[in-house]
Symmetry: C2
Subunit: 388 residues, 2 copies
């Protein structure tokens, strides 16, 4: 396999390269990062891609200078590109057959679409393309006959449960959810949460934005929308199930009433490798396994969508479909950034999303232009509402 | 599909016919029963098989008389056979393509083998052929290229978890177990258990013998051996996990550490239909589904193999392989019959099996003749030990 990793310096990107390291059948053809040129220099030395994108123009120029000065001899024949054009050039690079998309945010939409059009198989870790443009991307992947495999832990679990079930109708998806660090708190208690409170509880090693999203359950709202498009299941058949401990990664119920679940210790390399290796499993260095004791007590409960209305709003957006899913995502991004910089309170996040969704005039099947228009509108709405 | 049901008047047989009733693609070509000719008369009228075996010679003659007297007009062209020869004639009947084996005990060994040799696909609900002759049957099924699908709830769960996992190595099987009605009791408390105590706790609708086996955990020991042969997994990689409530029907752990589980409400029609329909699922009349509340608390724990040594003995037999698995099964059958008729105590069952296994000189890869020899020897040993 000839692999392009878009977002190679992030958490998923680095773990992807860790999987590649133990698999001789995978060659890295292209790497792309936002701006961390020190880290990508190391990756270039080890994996020797043919093309590399640094999204940030200045940082890209800096990398070019390093190469010209002979500081990275391994990169002598490597092409350096930058910006959205560069990202897309990486995504459609002819030598590549598979693109792992692990950039963060809506930035991944266009490269994902262009990669599909170029016939690349997609391993998708980037939520926003599906959340905002799932109605465009999923039919496109089908049309071009490319494999489209989710990398997210929950969606990979569902995908794994669906292996060998071709033609068997999905009755329900149980999308599991840890409940976040503030499960059990009242709305009043949530109001006083400071960024530092929210950031000290990550159960997986992830960035600040997604840590906040996990605590507000907006992350789960985004995942409901993602599951809806990925598996073509109506919003009302996707049941969010709180499972504290997060060892059950998700479940699928079929029409005969049988349920399949996928469980495991938290290790993102499992879904990454499952996606990369086309459903073939293999052992890892330092493989993590669950013991019977780890499974001693598995509890499931309904989420508290009244206190954590960010989740309810996501389910609403999923039910409505259209540009509102983009509005849900973009309003959340703006609110979380404002919360992290201390400009708004914790519960203002969900309040902001709610107000923004209410104000938005939904477009049922938006074009890419309409999606980015809805994004702008949502961001402007939040900035205006909270005087940011 | 043209189906033969061996054991059509038992619990699995009747539920099989219930599945057939809602599936227009399945025709019943052959039925076989031990001796319940009233029930099979109804089944003949409804499903119109071409051949019918009544194992009991006298009852078979009675059925023939009924037909001759014009009492079953639907059976005018139906052939009636009896005994082991008749059972085998049903199993290899040319019009049949699939044989569901749901007879009870070692009686199913020869018909299973002959059906495989005749190229029939097998849906196996009868444990003993695998327990006693798994080393003969599994390679034979492979050699003849027939599908061999387990119908047992746990083994079907494992089989379902393995769908879509071709080529992926099994790391461990978690064979789940309710723990039986006497879980938590001490050995002294077990000593006083009477047949009526053991018979009032069936969690599935099943016969007296299997109800006792479920309570002593010998049933689980037999299932360990079955899983060993069905899935070619070493005894030490089959972990018996007590899951009170029995909603998790079993789990498979793969070499990447991922676990797949199959869950559901107890409904034997699910594994029966999954086997019959070649892994295609469909809705049932009165389908049973689990709610989130049913899954509110799923606990797993290790079995108490010191108190319930019948399980430990089964695992030992599995580890040893050979004629000892037949001895384990036959000694148990004799002991359970003696317990049910009030001749021995509850803990004498496991003690009897243990003594019998100790006395047996194991034959590593026994022939059919040696298997039936080992059976005789075990039965004689128990009768002699307990002066039955």
């Amino acid at each position: 396999m000839k692999l392009c990793v878009l977002g190679s310096t992030g958490s998923i990107g680095r773990q992807t390269l860790d999987v590649v390291r133990s698999d001789k059948d995978i060659t890295v053809t292209a790497l792309a990062a936002l701006k961390n040129i020190d880290m990508i220099t190391k990756q270039i030395r080890e994996f020797r891609p043919q093309i590399c994108c640094i999204y940030d123009e200045e940082k890209a120029a800096e990398l070019v200078k390093r190469i010209e000065n002979g500081l990275i001899p391994e990169a002598e024949d490597m092409k350096v590109v930058s910006g959205m054009d560069g990202l897309i050039e990486c995504a459609v690079y002819p030598e590549t057959d598979t693109v792992l998309v692990s950039v963060v945010g809506m930035i991944g939409i266009k490269p994902t679409i262009e990669a599909i059009k170029a016939g690349k198989n997609i391993c998708q870790a980037n939520k926003e393309p599906i959340v905002c443009a799932g109605h465009i991307i999923m039919p496109l992947a089908k049309e071009h006959g490319v494999r489209f495999t989710p990398v997210d832990s929950e969606h990979s679990a569902i995908y794994q449960c669906l292996a060998g079930e071709k033609g068997n109708k999905i009755d329900k998806i149980y999308l599991t959810c840890s409940g976040g660090p503030f499960r059990g708190k009242t709305l009043d208690e949530l109001k006083n949460i400071k960024p530092e409170d929210a950031l000290k509880h990550p159960s997986w090693n992830m960035g600040a934005k997604i840590t906040i999203d996990s605590s507000t359950l907006v992350n789960k709202g985004l995942e409901v929308i993602e599951a809806h498009y990925l598996f073509d299941v109506p919003a009302d058949d996707i049941i969010v199930a709180v499972q504290p401990g997060s060892i059950v990664h998700s479940m699928v119920q079929f029409e005969d009433g049988a349920i399949k679940a996928q469980l495991g210790a938290p290790d993102m390399r499992v879904p990454i490798a499952y996606a990369l290796r086309n459903e073939k499993r293999a052992e890892f260095n330092g493989k993590k396994t669950l013991s019977l004791n780890d499974m001693a007590e598995i509890r499931f409960m309904e989420p508290d969508t009244e206190t954590f209305k960010g989740l309810k709003l996501g389910i609403d957006a999923c039910r409505t479909e259209g540009s509102v899913t983009t509005v849900y995502n973009a309003a959340n991004e703006e609110c979380v950034a404002a919360f992290l910089s201390g400009k708004i309170g914790y519960t203002d996040i969900a309040d902001g999303i709610e107000a923004c969704m209410k104000a938005h005039k939904n477009i049922p099947s938006p074009s890419l232009e309409e999606i980015f228009e809805a994004e702008k509108e949502a961001r402007a709405f939040i900035r205006n509402k909270y005087k940011l």
